[in-house]
């Protein structure tokens, strides 16, 4: 059936191509584009495009991928969020097996337990809610709406009552919930993409790790944020900057010390990528934030000739002796002796502390062991007595148990089969593994967390060393939108991820053919980012007006908008791109071309910054600052309300 359909479509496409070429097709293209196309154009650029046929719109296998973990107060039970299955699993720690599962709709991702272990709080990231499960029956007993994309939560006991702090990754804020009565007290802003939250040991404060750097000029040093909240007053009390650091996916307080730890990727996007050796593109580390002093020191996890990429989970044992950092790209848990860290910090001068993260030979001072894990270790949890460390091996569908006394694996809780027969799952393994890059420095995920953007522009040296920034584009929803690269020179993902990627970034050899097939299958399976709350089902009046502007052929006063300058000419639905390069007046001083690939607009609200070099921090800036002479669509007639309407519509796509 599929084959028949494929043959039919291919035949039709072929006929149209031939007809196009032989019967004035080029004239038709020029008329429809309002200009001569700058690249090879066929009927398929504008016709026969169906979202429904794209890989990300197809059903795909679901896996028992462990996300958040929560351990019972007596250490005998562990709850495991299975976001891909809409389930929470409960496992017996001694038997190391799952004993029951509960259905929890909404991609349950983060977990937190009340101190008595009676209630399990579940952050459901795709339904923008927190569910409450009775741990006795493992059934959902309550739910509350929070910000968008909740992924982590922490329980905090304050003098004014119990609080639950929720990191809302998509709305960039924190829901502070009162547990009794069950209501949202406040929703202060976090940094960009808050991804983890942890309560202080005394329960009065909470700390939030944010995954992306804040939006700022691409010419400035990027900063992410470690947010501290007074859980009693619901107020943010500090926003500590982590300079040139991002992708913090976890945070923990260190018992018996005044420290907060968060892993980080130290990024060097402003330095021309002439090499990757010596962490020239990025390196991995963790931040030690000393609360009383407000001092933050970034320390490396990497070694001079080996890297421990994509640091994700972090946990500190109750004695404050060890901290554990999961390196999702390297399949390793780094064991950090915190006393050694303390000693080093005490010995070091301020200059040495400032310099520490750049010193790739420093980590042997405090990393005492590297424990191998299964694929893609992400989240960590300790038993209350600290005797066992649980590691979610996300792409093996298992939870590793490490004996913290011996620092050796003690067993594994199997959740599923790992998805070894699913090319998408196998591709995700390739995507998240740093085994393919020089000295395991980074993975695809290091720049594309969850296949999305890291909000940065990088200076590639492909056309010589120069001030050539290129905005990092999302891979979510990218299927069917080729060609790729900002200059549109890579016709397929297979080519994009092949030799060029190996030469420019991996600095090794290309992915083996099978791995490349799996990798592209995974990338094509990524749907566009969700940008609206799940319960939205219609456009607002402003969005409707914006839609009319987007599809307008005339200005409000009746003047015709040239075909070449209409939004819809280049950004035609359903993908909102005709997949051709156009000149939009954004050529920079060192750019070698003035025509840039037309990006698709699905989920565009969540892909800032914009334009080929990331110069526009917001959609508005595309037209308020960087569109001269209506080169990027006729917009000069718009007043501010109309521009807001247009942006409002774009944010619904």
């Amino acid at each position: 059936m599929k084959a028949t359909r494929l043959i039919t479509w291919t035949s039709l496409a072929g006929i149209f191509v031939l007809l196009g070429h032989h019967f004035g097709g080029q004239a038709h293209i020029r008329r429809k584009l309002g200009q001569k196309p700058l690249a090879e154009t066929t009927c398929l650029n504008c016709h026969f495009v169906s979202v429904k046929s794209l890989p990300w719109a197809q059903p795909r296998p679901h896996h028992d991928s462990p996300a958040g973990l929560a351990v019972s107060p007596d250490g005998t039970r562990i709850w495991i969020a299975l976001d891909d299955q809409d389930q929470v699993a409960e496992a017996d720690v001694k038997a190391m097996r799952v004993i029951r599962r509960a259905k929890v709709p909404g991609a349950p991702y983060g977990l937190a337990l009340d101190p008595r272990g009676k209630q399990l709080f579940v952050a459901c990231k795709s339904q923008d809610r927190v569910a409450v499960l009775d741990t006795t029956t493992l059934t959902e007993i309550d739910s509350i709406e929070v910000g968008m994309g909740p992924v982590a939560l922490a329980f905090s006991a304050t003098p004014k009552g119990a609080r639950l702090l929720v990191a809302n990754s998509m709305s960039d804020d924190i829901s502070v919930l009162s547990v009794s009565p069950w209501r949202e007290l406040s929703r202060p802003a976090a940094g960009r993409e808050p991804f983890a939250v942890a309560a202080s040991c005394d329960g009065t404060r909470a700390f939030v790790a944010n995954r992306l750097v804040g939006l700022a000029s691409v010419k400035s040093v990027p900063e992410s944020e470690l947010t501290q909240i007074d859980a009693t007053t619901c107020r943010v009390t500090s926003r500590d900057a982590l300079a040139s650091a991002h992708l913090s996916e976890s945070v923990c307080s260190v018992p018996s010390r005044s420290w907060v730890l968060t892993p980080l990727v130290k990024v060097r996007n402003m330095v021309p990528i002439t090499q990757v050796a010596n962490g020239w593109v990025m390196s991995s580390g963790f931040a030690v934030a000393d609360r009383p002093s407000g001092r933050i020191v970034q320390l490396p996890l990497d070694e001079a000739n080996d890297y421990f990429s994509d640091p994700s989970g972090v946990a500190a044992d109750p004695s404050g002796h060890f901290a554990f950092v999961a390196s999702g790209g390297s399949d390793v848990i780094s064991v950090i002796d915190l006393a050694r860290v303390s000693n080093w910090l005490a010995r070091a001068t301020q200059a040495q502390r400032d310099d520490a993260i750049y010193d790739l030979s420093l980590s042997p001072e405090y990393v005492v062991k590297r424990v191998r894990t299964g694929r893609n270790p992400r989240q960590l949890a300790l038993t209350p007595d600290g005797s066992k460390l649980f590691v979610s091996e996300r792409l093996d569908d298992s939870v590793l148990v490490i004996d913290t006394g011996t620092l050796n694996p003690a067993g594994r809780i199997r959740l599923g089969d790992g998805g070894r027969d699913d090319p998408i799952r196998l591709g995700e393994r390739v995507f998240t593994s740093s085994a393919y890059t020089f000295q395991h420095q980074f993975s695809c995920r290091s720049c594309h967390p969850d296949g999305h953007v890291d909000g940065l522009s990088y200076d590639f040296d492909g056309d010589g060393i120069g001030d050539n920034l290129l905005d990092n584009r999302s891979l979510q929803g990218v299927a069917g939108t080729g060609p790729f690269k900002w200059n549109g020179k890579n016709p397929s993902l297979e080519i994009q991820c092949g030799v060029r990627f190996a030469k420019v970034l991996m600095r090794t050899e290309p992915f083996p053919a099978k791995e490349l097939r799996d990798l592209t299958a995974f990338i094509k399976s990524l749907p566009p980012p969700r940008v609206n709350r799940t319960n939205r089902d219609h456009l607002s009046p402003s969005e409707e007006r914006g839609r009319a502007i987007f599809f307008a052929t005339r200005t409000p006063d009746g003047r015709e908008i040239p075909v070449s300058s209409r939004c819809v000419t280049c950004h035609a639905p359903p993908l909102y791109t005709v997949r051709l390069p156009f000149k939009v007046g954004t050529k920079g001083q060192f750019d070698t071309t003035e025509a840039f690939d037309t990006p698709h607009l699905l989920g565009v609200a969540d892909t800032a910054p914009y334009l080929h070099d990331g110069r526009a921090q917001s959609l508005e800036e595309i037209w308020t600052l960087y569109s001269t002479n209506d080169a990027h669509g006729v917009t000069s007639y718009m007043n501010k309300i109309q521009l807001n309407d247009l942006v409002a519509f774009l944010k619904t796509l």
């Binding site: 010419k219 040093v221 990027p222 300079a243 040139s244 130290k266 990024v267 060097r268 996007n269 402003m270 330095v271 021309p272 002439t274 090499q275 050796a277 010596n278 962490g279 020239w280 390196s283 070694e303 001079a304 000739n305 080996d306 310099d355 750049y358 010193d359 790739l360 030979s361 980590s363 042997p364 020089f438 000295q439 200076d459 040296d461 010589g464 060393i465 120069g466 001030d467 030799v499 190996a502 030469k503 600095r507 090794t508 050899e509 290309p510 001083q589 060192f590």
Partner: protein
Amino acid sequence: MLACVAFLVSPLGCSSPVPTDSIVVTQIPRGISAGPTADVLDRSYPSGSRIVLLGSASDPVRLLSQGLIAAGEPVASFDGKRVVFAGKASQTSEWQIYEASLVGGPPRPLTSVHGGATDPLLLGDGALVYVSPVPSSGADPVLQSSALYLQRVPGRSSRLTFNTARVCSPTILSDGRILFVSSSPGVSEFSTGLYTINNDGTEVSAFSGHQERMMIRRPRQVPDGRVVFLTSGANASCEVRAESISMARPFGGTSALFPACRAHLSSVQPDSDGGFLVCADREAAAVASGVFRLNADARSLGTPVFLDPKWSSIEAVPITQSVRPMGRLSNVDPLHRTGQILCLNANDTTCSESVDGLAPKAAAVRVTTASSGNIPVPLGEVKLQPDGSFMAEVPADIPLGFEALDQTGRVLRRVNPFIWVRPGENRACIGCHERPNHSPKNLRPLAVRVAVPLLEPAVSERAGKNPE
């Protein structure tokens, strides 16, 4: 196991399976002293030295260097099916690299280069790397220039290193880089250091600190995260020690590999079980050298796994299927004659020449190359940007040195011509005499915003550019 005395050499030309856990050994006949030698290999591997495979009880010693009058420096392929080594076909011929199948058959010459070839190395993709020319035995070998060459197709070699130093003992690291020994620039004449390049000769970098007045030989990466090697003084009579460097902290100094074990070592090779395959003898020349398996905490050599009283075993290589090192696509563009260099801050330096401990600030950098007499020759000068950065386009494949100049043109710091760029290579550094194993700060260098000057050698220098 193989702790036997072997007298029999299996018939030549047969095709026999390779036993698991076998070892390839370089043997030199005992009681034969090297006669007049033309080069250093003649001295190390006198006539009669040979490469053998130690196998099963029924086939204890299989000659792999059949037809050669001398052979040594065996290196096994990662699939455990073949071995390459340096060999000499006759007294008058030069040393070349040969390949032999472990299942049998005569060796096949892989090179035929003027000046001879030595120190073979196999890359992960099977390509051959070797050193040429073979240093003559007359002058101090440390002072004799040599280079690494890459050969993917027999008879077609390309040069990988482009300075005037003595380069030797290449080995492959798991990350795909070639680790090699080189005499170090600007330090005492007997100092050597470990350096790395990519498999296309790009990104030449110091791997560790140099060893003052010491020769380094036979570096090998160990799976436990170390590089082990042999060191000795410049004289042949000096004691040979096995030492190690941590890959995690290669500039953190060396450690004795077998601190509790006294022995005279001639080779150390990582074994498949995490230990080491060692060729050594207990009492120098009094008895034959044997092959031993040692752990790092060994207190003595113990029982040899192989000992033949008629032969001294001076090199031993385990034959196993091992993890293939990472490969790498070349960034060299043969259409280019130049490469670009970018320094983020020439004033970021570990040199401290002033009273206050801070190095004086440079205002410009002079790029130099080496003349035939090893004297730095200026290629041109580049002004530093306010942030200390500079860029220049420089000729590819010649040695490059740098001199930091103050406002008056006085030389503040100097790096003698030692590094190079390959055609089309973009090469960057953090500073001049930068701190090793440091990554750069995330700052945009001002130099990338200005026109890049092309620095070219004078015509007279260009004429003598190619060291080949």
